[in-house]
Amino acid sequence: MDFDSLINGLGGHTLDGLFRGSVYALVALGYTMVYGVMRLINFAHSEVFMVGTWTVLGVYTVLGAGEGSGTMMVIAATALALVCAMAASATVALGVERIAYRPLRKKNAPPLIFLITAIGCSLALMETFGYVLKVFFGEPFGRAPVNIPSPLRTSALIEIGDFRLTNVHVLVIVGAIVMMFALDTFVNKSRIGRGVRAVAQDPDTASLMGVNQDRVIMMVFVLGGAMAGVAALLYTVQYDITSWSAGFLMGIKAFTAAVLGGIGNLRGALVGGLILGIVEVYFSTLFDSSWQNVWAFIVLVLVLMFRPTGLLGESLGKARA
């Protein structure tokens, strides 16, 4: 146990935790929203994120953006990558809903069938990037991880001892929080957002009020997908890498974040993501950093044992009490 290095570098570690946690939170929104309106854990959501990271790679490749790019190119490439990743992830999320889930809903399939279908979609998407696309296009698709050289150069904005705040930190944390507030406002203030909340609280009564459930569900997949697209860009900025299985760990961590905050609860996803990020960094410092991926599982088990409704509770689930 290395308390000294945790205490000495507390500021830096906390910053690092928020940095990781904000991406977890963005992905967690997709789990939480879909769960809120459909009571379904959408296991395919991790691959919605994965597709976003590949889209970022695609945009950089097409534009020829890389480590040596000029300022204009950096801004243009980043902005375009953001928009394309959001669009691609939203499209994949919507595709899964239309092709896989909606036909099941029309047949009144039991929840277990949805869950198995979700896992099936997840596998199909992973294998698309790990195998199918490689057969047609060769590299960079396939099983090997791929570098995504981010055109964004890291430069320190503030440096005090070990504490180093960089432009990338600011971009990721501020970007994630801005997106989350935008989403929260949309769901609480807009008309379709009211429809979303109504379906989450009581689907039958919502349709009696004239809410078209299919439209609300589509909206939820599009919004969750777009947030996963934002997360995908921020993730590539952090780690400069992706792979066909990049969604797997991210999915588990984001799901943990959603459960930790209270699944179905948008603000819970933010709180859960940030706390999980910080826990991960603190404990990786205290113990061995090779254990870093274990903490999310431990948190998940502890939450499910002692507070299954999460820290903020299932706010959209009050109707089910």
């Binding site: 008309r191 009211r194 429809g195 909340r197 109504a198 609280q201 009581d202 039958d204 009564t205 919502a206 349709s207 009696l208 009020m209 004239g210 809410v211 078209n212 459930q213 706010s315 959209l316 009050k318 109707a319 009490a321």
Partner: protein, 236 residues
């Protein structure tokens, strides 16, 4: 006829809950549907509102066959149900709940007017307009559910057990308001276990027993019917 339900059969899996019932509601009427627990009253409401599809039969509303339409599409045509157990949104405020009633409308000025009208009808709701609806009393929740339904300007307002779980004094109050709404020109179909209240307020009524209509007539006639008095009004 504003509403015609013809030979409606409704099933839950292998169990048949409605065995081919027919109901008619004319414009301006207050029609009651009475019956014991499990007679199929709520199933009838679910079928009419579109929450549950019919196995066979036909629903014609305002001259249009709506049998195959979804609940939200029927609602847009003015066929509005306040469900059993009130179905308020517990996590929304009173005002947000009322606004949900106007979800399909875009005429903001008229919506604001209707909101004032709902508050006029239910002053208690105005006092609690910012309160989260889950914290209201049962009677207040029923008022909210009726007020919310009115916000959609229904052609036909269907009420499923508005008296459920309420104290006798509150029941009186709720039924008075229902009569008031009817006098203002809204057609009403009300399902009730409280047969006395329902029959004394209704123009016509149907009696439902284990999935069949066993009697129909004017509210006054059914109130005087000895078999009805014995079975539903507790008078020998």
């Amino acid at each position: 006829m504003l509403l015609q339900l013809e030979d409606a059969v409704l099933t839950y899996g292998k169990i048949e809950a409605l065995h081919g019932i027919s109901i008619e509601v004319d414009e301006g009427e207050v029609v009651a549907l009475i019956g014991a627990n499990g007679a199929g009253k709520t199933s009838t409401m679910r079928a009419l509102s579109g929450i549950r599809g019919l196995a066979s039969g036909k629903i014609v509303f305002n001259g249009e066959d709506v049998t195959r339409l979804r609940a939200d599409q029927r609602m847009r045509r003015g066929l509005v149900l306040t469900p059993e157990g009130r179905g308020i949104f517990p996590g929304m405020t009173v005002t947000e709940n009322l606004d949900m009633g106007a979800y399909t409308r875009k005429d903001r000025a008229a919506i604001a007017q209707d909101l004032e009208r709902a508050f006029g009808l239910f002053p208690r709701l105005q006092e609690r307009r910012k309160q989260v609806a889950g914290t209201l009393s049962g009677g207040e929740q029923q008022m909210l559910a009726i007020g919310r339904a009115l916000m959609s300007r229904p052609k036909l307002l269907m009420l499923d057990e508005p008296s459920m779980g309420l104290a006798p004094m509150i029941i009186q109050q709720i039924f008075q308001i229902i009569s008031e709404i009817a006098q203002q020109g809204t057609t009403i179909l009300v399902v009730e276990q409280n047969a006395k209240q329902a029959l004394s307020r209704a123009d016509r009524a149907y009696v439902l027993e284990t999935g069949n209509i066993v009697k129909a007539g004017t509210g006054a006639a059914l109130l005087d019917d000895p078999s009805i008095r014995e079975a539903y009004l507790g008078v020998a």
